[in-house]
Amino acid sequence: MPPSPEASLPLAGIRVLDLGWITAGAASSTLLLDLGAEVIKVEGPDAPDPFRHWEGRGEGGDWWNRAPFYNFTNRGKRSVCLDLKDPRGRAAMLRLLAGADVLVENFRRGVLARFGLAVPELRRRFPRLVIASISSQGEDGPDRDMVSFGSTLEATGGLAALTGTGAAPVITGREVNYPDQVVCLFAAGAIVAALLERDRTGQGAHLDLSQRELTSFLLGEELVAAAAGAPSPRRGNADPAGSAERVVPDGAGGWRAEWPGGAAPVRDGAALAAAPEFLRGTAVLRGPDGTPAKGIPFRFARRPLAVHEACRPLGADNRAVLADSGLAPEEIAALEEAGVLATAPRRGNDA
């Protein structure tokens, strides 16, 4: 099938409000953007996405617009900086929600309600809205408020116990935080499923996604085996499905993976970034200005998916988005005057 650019993307016409932070929330929204949705990222002047504080952002000036991993992840989104703790900010958010199809959030449980945006209230006011809540433990249960990073969930979800080549169970650590990465692939699908269901029934939904449950789900066969009394050994680098597989020194200070019928070098980040199949693949793409940008984990033969735009500065779309929602220019100016709308974080460099 030849590409037909005129074929519209699957989520054309869908508007997403993105309250997502770091990867689990923000990169799920990025996948929706790649599938054709318009994504409006909403951050508070007191609570910008913590990815803006990450390494490599440089000092001084508008440092918040120069954080490499933030810009990498959030390319192509419209940006609104709105103080949800202020009643006027909440009122503006409700106007935005009235025109939205999807809300994505991965705050600590209870934060959305403290903004006066509790899920039951939103479901009642906006019955067509799909609300995706991505959290460590889920919306309820005795561990609901347990503080966890991705690697904590590897431990509590069963992955760490089965990973490792030595005596200790192994977590991926801050360079990977595996559950935060993989949840995006599942959450974006669940949101598209909810939009399909809405196409059928007219009803939105609240999607309660627990990253710990996903971590356990991705070891589902081990849970089924354990329930039947079968052991769950840590297999090191052997194949859980039985083939003879191993990782051996390559004789040059590195490692090589071997399996029946094949072998591959164990690449580090630099070797990966230089590999031909990486360069022609889609894991990392480039924006129109050549800046590396988060890639897209699939391709569509008839509807080319691409990174169309670089990351926009914080609050760059304040006026346009609020005007779109029906606010008059003088109302927008009043919000700017009051600092409810902003283009910079309130706190300084060390926030």
Partner: protein, 330 residues
Amino acid sequence: MAAPLAGRRVLDLGALCAQRPHALAASMAARLCAAYGAEVVRPVPESGEPFARLPPLLPDGGSALDRFLNAGKRRGPAATGAFDAAIGDSAALGAHAAAVPVRVRLSVFGPGEDPPMSELGLLALSGLLDIVGEAEGPPARLAGHQPAYAAGLAACTGLLAALRAGGEEVVEVSLFDVTAWLNWKAPASVMVLGAAPSRSGLPKDWHTLPVRDGHVALVYQDKDWPALRDLVGDPRLRREEFLTIAGRRRHHAELMAVLRPWFAARSRAEITAAAQARRIPIGPVLAPAELLDDAQHRARGFLGPGGMPHLPLRWDGARVGAEATDAALA
């Protein structure tokens, strides 16, 4: 009950894929479709279900892999009737799904590029093997079938999107691209920061530690250091070399010499409760058998009969597709 794929028929060609990573990925994608309410048909070759003899094996001789991945599907010798979507590798789709409007095609490196490959090879080539493991030891593969299952999640998301768009589509899912996408920080660090993190450089800030009844994951950010220091309460932790993250990395061995005995003397539950009270994201390392009786999983109804996990999703408070997959082990 939400059933976004109700009335849709999905052809699972996982049992007919030439290579195992493709087979596992296709089977996972189709399993998600079954939970979303699709009628999933899985043709099996004359030699039988390829997962039926793969570990983990059960005391009754069956395969836990087969039961988990094929829950909620209808197995048959051949596929008949019309399908809305099909999932498989190039050859299986060509042979069995030429007329299916949405085809999800698994490959190693992209359309038509299918050299012999294993999940270990995918982890190695994508850098996800190198970055995981203890600094002093060999790299460690993530447990289970993470590269294939992640590709299955991506394949299902692409399939759902293609169905929503309508008409014909081929969704191309490269196992390598998905695995490298998961490991984006390593290449992005090279491309935008000029340096990649590595397993064997500085000691890891986060790792597991032995405790009285197993291990916990020591996970904390720089801002959590005062809380961790006070939790352990050893005056040596106030020394100047431990004040900054750079200092703690430089003096990792000395730091561990102070931390290890404190952790070793306490249980997972004690440590987790004390750390959580100070909002430090430390958690217990739990084995699959322990998860079966886990209070959080139980409270949320995550596991069905026989330990069968439900879709990790509640939809307006209800589990999605639980009836379909529970039947496999009920």
